[in-house]
Structures are given as C-alpha cells and as structure tokens.
Amino acid sequence: MLTPSGQVLEIRNARIVDPLHADNGRQTSLFVREGKFIDPPKSPGITGHTIDLDGALALAGGIDIHTHIGGGKVNLSRMLMEEVFERSERVVWPTVETGAMYSRMGYTMCFEPAMLLSGARHTHMELADTPYLDSGAYVVLGNEDWMLEALAGGADDHLLQAMVAWSMAASQATAVKVVNPGGISAFKFNQRALDVDERHPKFGVTPRDIIRRLTAAIDELAIPHPLHVHAGNLGAAGNIAATLQTLEAAEGRRIHLTHAQFNSYSDLGPFGMGSGAEQLAKYVNDHPNVTVDVGQVIFGRTVTISADTAAQYGNRKHASPARWFVNDTECQAGCGVVPIRYQSKQYVHSLQWTIGLELMLLIEDPWRVFLTTDHPNGGPFTCYPHLIRLLMDRSFRQSMLDTLDPRAAERSALRDIQREYTLDEIAIATRAAPARVLGLKQRGTLQSGAIADLAAYDQRKDWEATFSAARCVLKGGVEVVRNGITLDGALAVCQTHRTEVDWDAAQIERFRPAVEQTLRMPLESLQISNGEFSEMIQVRRSR
C-alpha cells in the first residue's frame, strides 16, 4: 500500500526489538513519512494509513553483509543449477526470486562481496535486477598484476591509496575485499599455495605485505568498512595459525575476516583436522579492531563459488556431483565453482558445522560477529532462520549435535556452551552491527531518522518458524511483504549503495599505463560514471 507523499504511516502494536531504540522491548507505535521513521506526530489523527502488527516482533530490515547474489560466478552457478540440480535442490536462483525470498525473510539489504573491476557492470546489473533489496558490492583487490607490481616496486602510500580509491570509484563499490591476498595471482604462476610470509613467485610480495598496505590505505581513505578479508589457506587443515597471522598483518588497524569458519581449523584431530574456533574467538575478543562474519555450514546440497581459484582448484576432489569450474579472470582474480554436499555423518562437515556455531557463541561482542552462511558456500541464505534457532535455543542445538559424526560432536566445545542468543543479540548480529560496520548510519535500526526498512514477525512455535516468514516487511516505508507473501505491484525504490571516497585524481596517470597494458583497454572503459550508474543501476523499482 502506498501512502501519499507527506502523509504518515502508523505501524501499531509493534513489539520493538532494537537495542538502539528507546522503546526496545516495549509494544508501541512507529511512524513513517516519506520513507523514514519519524518521531510520533504531535497532532493525533494525522496518519494517512495504518498497519496493525498485533504485537508482532518488529525489527529493522535484515542486512546480509556477505552473500553471493550477483556477478559472473553466480551466473555460472545458475547454469549449473539448471543443468545438474533438481529444482528442489537449487540454491542459486534467478535474481527476481532471490530478492523475493530474501524479502519474505525480512531482509532489506544485501551485499555482494566479490566484484571484480572488470565485472562490475555485470554485478551491478544483477543487483539492479534483484527486487525488494537495497544492495552494494565490494571490489576485489590484492591480486591484480598492476597492484602487485606496484607493491613490489615500493609504491608509496599516495599511489596505493589512489589505486584503491580509483578502483572503488570506477566500480561504484561499497568497500574493498581481498581474496587470498597474492595467492590467486600466485596460482596463475603455478604456485598452489601462498602462506602469509611466503613471497609471490613473480612479484615477490607477501600476503602480509598486501594486508598491511591495504588496511593502511583503507584507514587513510576513511572508508567506513574495514578491509574485508578472505584469508589464504581457506579450508586447509591447520589454517588457524595462518589466519591469526593474517589478522596480525593489519597491525592493529581495522580488519574484517569473512566466512571465518573456513579459516578456523586446527591440525589436531581425526584426519589431521580439528576446531580452531576457540583460538580465533579469543583473538577476536582480545582485539577490538577485528570483526568477523561466520560462514556457517548447513547440511545439504549447495555450491561453493569463489574468486579464490587456488582454493577451488584444491576443492575439486570434493565436488559433488563431480564437475567443477576454475577460470582465471582478467589478471585480477578468478572464478571457481564447485558443487558440494555437506553431510552430517561426515567428520569434516560436522566439524565445520560446530566451528561456525562455536565462533558465534564464543565471540562475546555481538557487534563484531555477523551471521552469514557465505551464501551459497556454506549453505543457502534461506537457512538463516534455522541458524537463528541454533543460536537462540540451546536444547535444539544439543539435539542437532547428537545427529553429527560423533567424533566431531564429542570434541566440540558446543556441549559446554550455555549461551543462547537473545532477541536483541539477533537484532544486532543481523541488523544493527552490519549497518554499523558498513557505515550505514540510517540503517539497521527503527530509530527516528532511519530509513523505514522494517520486518515484523509473529512469534511461532520456535525461532526458526518465527523468522522464516515475515508478517510484514516495509522497504523504505512501502509494504512489500504481507503475511509472508511478496506483494505484486509494490513500488519500493531500491538503491545500490556505494561509498564516495576523496582521492587525488592526478595520481591516476601513475598507474594508468600498467592497467591499460594488462587489460588491453583504456582505463576509461572500466569506469562506471555516476551518470551511467544513476541512469541504469542506482534507482530501481521493485515489482
């Protein structure tokens, strides 16, 4: 239902779940005008339209900080879904379905974490065609030939900052991500692994160098979101040591470790693999500069998609069904797609499942740990309600633990963890904290002045049922979901969020030759101008 411009929408009987809101925990009314929450109007009877939530839980719209929903890899996995998977098993959907499914769950904003410079238009096009969601994307840096060459040549901070800023501006990105720093490039020179202090076979830089320089550049450029790090040695037994070294490489600067579960393995246990979650959790607890998202594994069939071709090439032997894709892409990164089935009776998969939950429960500050499955790598985003139940309901968690491979279950710290997430902590982990770490001041909260993204849930028999389908979802103050069904004809304006960065454009001539010589095209052809972005991508209307 559209409220004519200027009129006020009243949302009655909302039970507020927002730790930032003054009425948190209480049942009250919320008011919306022109797409934003406002203070209660002084004049009674001013409202143009009313939605009665009948005491439903009212949270801000969900924000998924890391989900693969747009771009070349995603489209390749869609092809795989179509050709190989039964419809009921598909976990990567067309863009319209993706948006609708997220919306029905109460999510209003999602971020694609792996956008290559050369693939930026494709990524933004797919995000633009994903309705009901605001979106953004992180540009992948740290494996481009020109940047590695510059680092090897002792590039000064101004040059590096210019490279980072230009990449963000050209690709209209929200933030910067590094994937297996230097490792993807090393694989192109036939080096199959690159440890944190190991030198690149051609350029001679180490992953530590790359992390150190990029975190410094991002801080200097005042980019709100820290360097979003997909650490090297992903999935390798004993990788926890390298993971901690990766975090150390930031030298105290802000750093975000993504899908941390995949980088939290000790070398103690059956098959030389055990949980390193306690080590990582302790590190995060002791270092306030670190944030993580979990990358929880959910049992069942899924597909792993990643720019980390080195890791994906290594994963090829686990492909189920047995086909895999690895593609080197434009001297920037790669594209690896490997289908997989996570099985509860398989030790390593069970271990992965326990590690993700251990991280969520052992990291004390809910503002620094985010709920993700690294969709679809750990599992589809549609499993978030299941994951929420695991976090909030210890008895359910224990019952699930009993279904695992016993070797993983008996070794897991989960048996002894009493903690249950509260509603407030769920709201933080899925709304307020992602908004904060991304620098989205008007999101993740129901406070006055915030964008009116709201998700209301009727409390049902368990938390999974509760969060599976929203009673009502507002996107910018427009109702897009009612009683779990997306509304046809809802006209909600969706935006693609990008971060504007101040930088010295004169520096561009210092790296232009290297980029153009590598990609064999003018620099300008890579740049998505604000005009192009505004016309075709930025403002989109949901159905």
Partner: protein
C-alpha cells in the same frame, strides 16, 4: 615515464606505443572489418531505397526521405509511429498465437534482453536465444564435466603458449592477435600456434610479419579429434607419437601457461562436443603440473549477452517460458532443428538489436525486429513484416559482454542519435498494450 615502473614494464610500455600504431595499420587492412563497414554502408543505402509502401516494412509513408550517409543512421519515420505500429503488430501476434509464440533472440544488449524477458513473461511467449550452437556445446560440456578457463587479459599477460583452433578464430576475431597476442612478437614470451585446415589461410596475409602464428599445424578437420586424443594420451602411450602431434606435445610439455582458443562457431556439432571434451581433458591433465585453460570466444555480438541476461533473470540458459509462478526450460526444446521450431510455434518473432553480418536463421518469422545496419535487410524475400531498429552500441549506448565473457562494456553510440526506436522500446510498448488487455490464457507448459 613513471619512476616506479620496473624496467620490464617500461619495455612493455614502449612496445605498447608501437602496438597502437600497428593496430591502427592492421585495422585498416583487416579484411573482415572492411567488409563490415562496407556492408553497413550498403545496408543503410539500401534502406533508403525501400519503397514506403512496401509490405515488408512497418514504416510510415512519410519515411521516404532517409539519410544514406554512413555517418548518420537513416532518419526513418518518427520513432513513436514506428514503435507504435510495431507494438501493435506484436500485440496482434500475441493474440493470434494462442500461447504458442516464439521470441527468437539472435543477439541483444542488456536493455533489450531485459525488455524481452518482461515481454515474454507478460505474453507467455517462449523466449529462445538462438543461433548459438557453439555456446550450447560448451555449456553441455560445462554441465557434465566442468571447465578450466582463462579470459583474454590472462592470455595477453600470462600465457606463454596459445593454440588457436580453426580458421573461425582468425576470420571472426580479427583483432585477437593485435590486441591480445602482442607478446607473440619475437622474444616477448608468447608462442602462438594455430591448428587449421589450411597451411596458409588467406586472412593471415593481412597480418604483420611478427603477429602471426609461429607454427601452423595443418590437420584435416576430420582428424582433429583423433589427434587431440593422441595428444592427451601422449604422456602415457606406449606407441610413438605421430609426427603430426609430436611438435604440439613438446610445446605443451614445455609451457607454463597454455591456452586453447576457438570461436564458438567453429565447434557446433555433437561430434565437436566430443572434441571440446577432449580439450578439457587435455587442459586438466596439463594443469596437474602447470597451468592450462580453454577460451571459447563468441564473435557474434550480443549472443553471449543475451544468454547471460536470460540466465540471471530466469535461471534458464537458452530457452525460457513463464509458467505463471516460475520460469521453465522445457526439455522438448533442447535439440530442436529450425524446422522443429517452426513446427512447434504458430507465430515467430525474430529479434536482433546488435549489428551482425550474417542473417538471422530462416524461421519464416511473422515479424523480424532487426538492426537497420543488418546487411541483409533488403534481400530477404520471405519477410512479411520487418521493423528496422536502432543498433545497440552504434545508435545508442548499450551494455554488452565481450566475446570471452571476461568483462561487460558500455559501447557507443558511434554516430548521432537517430529517430529509430530501439528493440527495447518496442518490447516495452507492447507490454503496455498487453497490460491494458486481460491476461493471456493458460501457461504453455
């Protein structure tokens, strides 16, 4: 010179300056590019000679005066009237088809494809990205076996051995060497070998001396599969390697990053599919000790784009039909011949928003929406209705994937805006017309 650039890069930059000059000279001599430009001019001239009362054209009578200059597109009738008439005709076809309308996409930019998908959803038409047999071969191999690939910049920068397969690559991607194989000049670290049926393909005569394959393996087409199989087995075989294959085996054994390249139109049959599987096996074997990838290039502008957009919007790669709640790709459309397509549908619309040299397939279409730059526009006797539209990337700025899929670019416009509607305009106008009608009947599947 940037003081921070290592010496190697400085050498590369100097070479790049020479390459730009060489590229320009080559482009002027490129037979295919010249052919395209001539065809474009002749089609524009031909469009201007068409009689306004011609039954083939949906144009207003006042369109008699048209610009024939190659620099400006034909002015055409006012866009609104042409667009409206085309939309009216398309709406009639939807109504007449009784749910059996085929929208055959022969090439499209992103905007056109988005509109086409929306139209297909509204009208329940079956949407098919056609004429892409080579892409379908690769897709089938990917789906059953997977893939190991590389993009063009990787070839330009990292590869030390490129093997082009078939003359399609030479004829249909004429800029490949000049833009991406510069390092095959002596001493720059890239070897370029070519497998073809001619020892000296005419197209190579237009290439500069340094930018041509180091070696051409003249293999009969019928022998490609056998020889590639021999190549794959060469490491393990007890039998001696044949003289035809041995040099290639040695070259591969010594490479650190090899890439096999072909143009999609080169490998289109079911037998070719076996050959592509063989290439994948070779690449996988090679990747155990070094790096190796495959690169199939789609030279027909808009083919790849149409397929990618269809995939992300519908989840279907080549054929999609809206079933009321989801998109389906019916199995019965998988391997249809042209006659099969004609038989399955009562009304057929062909759409191509991207310029091309070749004609769309002979589908006896009830409506053809084609670029005004289409060289064959004026020579199709079987067209009952033809709508000339603005060309993507030429008459208006359009988003298109590069033929290797490595990037999406915004191309054009290359000449002043003309009055022709775009294919997307017509789709959207038809949707508006259909929206004012009751919804069409039962789903087609």
């Amino acid at each position: 010179m940037c003081p921070l650039q290592p010496a190697e890069t400085q050498a590369k930059l100097a070479t790049a300056d020479n390459a730009v000059a060489a590229w320009s000279a080559f482009a002027a001599r490129c037979e295919r590019r010249t052919q395209w430009l001539q065809a474009t001019r002749s089609s524009l001239d031909a469009l201007s000679t068409l009689q306004p009362s011609s039954p083939e054209l949906i144009v207003a009578p006042e369109s008699a005066d048209r610009a024939s200059s190659a620099q400006a597109a034909p002015a055409g009738p006012p866009a609104d009237s042409l667009c409206d008439r085309a939309a009216q005709r398309l709406e009639e076809l939807v109504h007449d088809s009784d749910g059996r309308l085929l929208l055959w996409i022969d090439g499209a930019d992103v905007a056109t494809m988005r509109a086409a998908v929306e139209f297909a959803k509204r009208s329940r038409a079956t949407l098919h990205v056609g004429n892409a047999m080579g892409a379908h071969v690769v897709r089938r191999v990917m789906a059953s076996d997977g893939w190991l690939g590389a993009s063009l910049a990787e070839v330009a920068t990292h590869a030390d051995l490129v093997i082009t397969l078939g003359n399609h690559t030479l004829y249909h991607t004429p800029m490949l060497a000049e833009r991406f194989l510069q390092r095959c000049r002596t001493g720059m670290g890239l070897r370029w070998w070519h497998i073809g049926e001619d020892a000296s393909p005419p197209v190579l005569k237009s290439m500069t001396g340094e930018l041509r394959p180091e070696r051409i393996l003249c293999w009969p087409r019928s022998e490609w599969y056998n020889r590639l199989t021999e190549l794959q087995l060469a490491g393990d075989a007890m039998d001696p390697i044949s003289a035809e294959v041995d040099p290639l085996w040695i070259a591969l054994a010594g490479s650190q990053y090899a890439v096999w390249i072909w143009e999609n139109g080169q490998l289109t049959s079911s037998l070719d599919e076996l050959l592509v599987r063989r290439l994948l096996s070779i690449a996988r074997l090679q990747s155990q000790t070094s790096r190796c990838g495959l690169l199939n290039i789609d030279a027909q502008l808009g083919q790849l784009t149409a397929g990618e957009v269809l995939q992300w919007l519908t989840g279907c790669g080549s054929t999609a039909v809206w079933a009321g709640h989801a998109w389906n790709s019916p199995e019965r459309y998988r391997y249809l011949s042209l006659q099969g397509w004609r038989d399955h549908f009562s009304r057929i619309v062909v759409l191509r928003s991207t310029p091309a040299l070749g004609s769309p397939p002979e589908l006896q279409a009830d409506l053809s929406i084609l670029c005004a730059t289409d060289a064959r526009l004026h020579t199709r006797p079987n067209l009952t209705h033809l709508v000339p539209v603005a060309a993507a990337g030429v008459d208006y700025a359009a988003h298109l994937f590069r033929g290797d899929g490595g990037t999406m670019l915004r191309l054009g416009p290359t000449r002043p805006t003309n009055a022709l509607p775009t294919a997307a305009d017509i789709m959207l106008a038809t949707i508006r017309r259909l929206s004012s009608r009751p919804a069409t009947g039962a789903p087609t599947c």
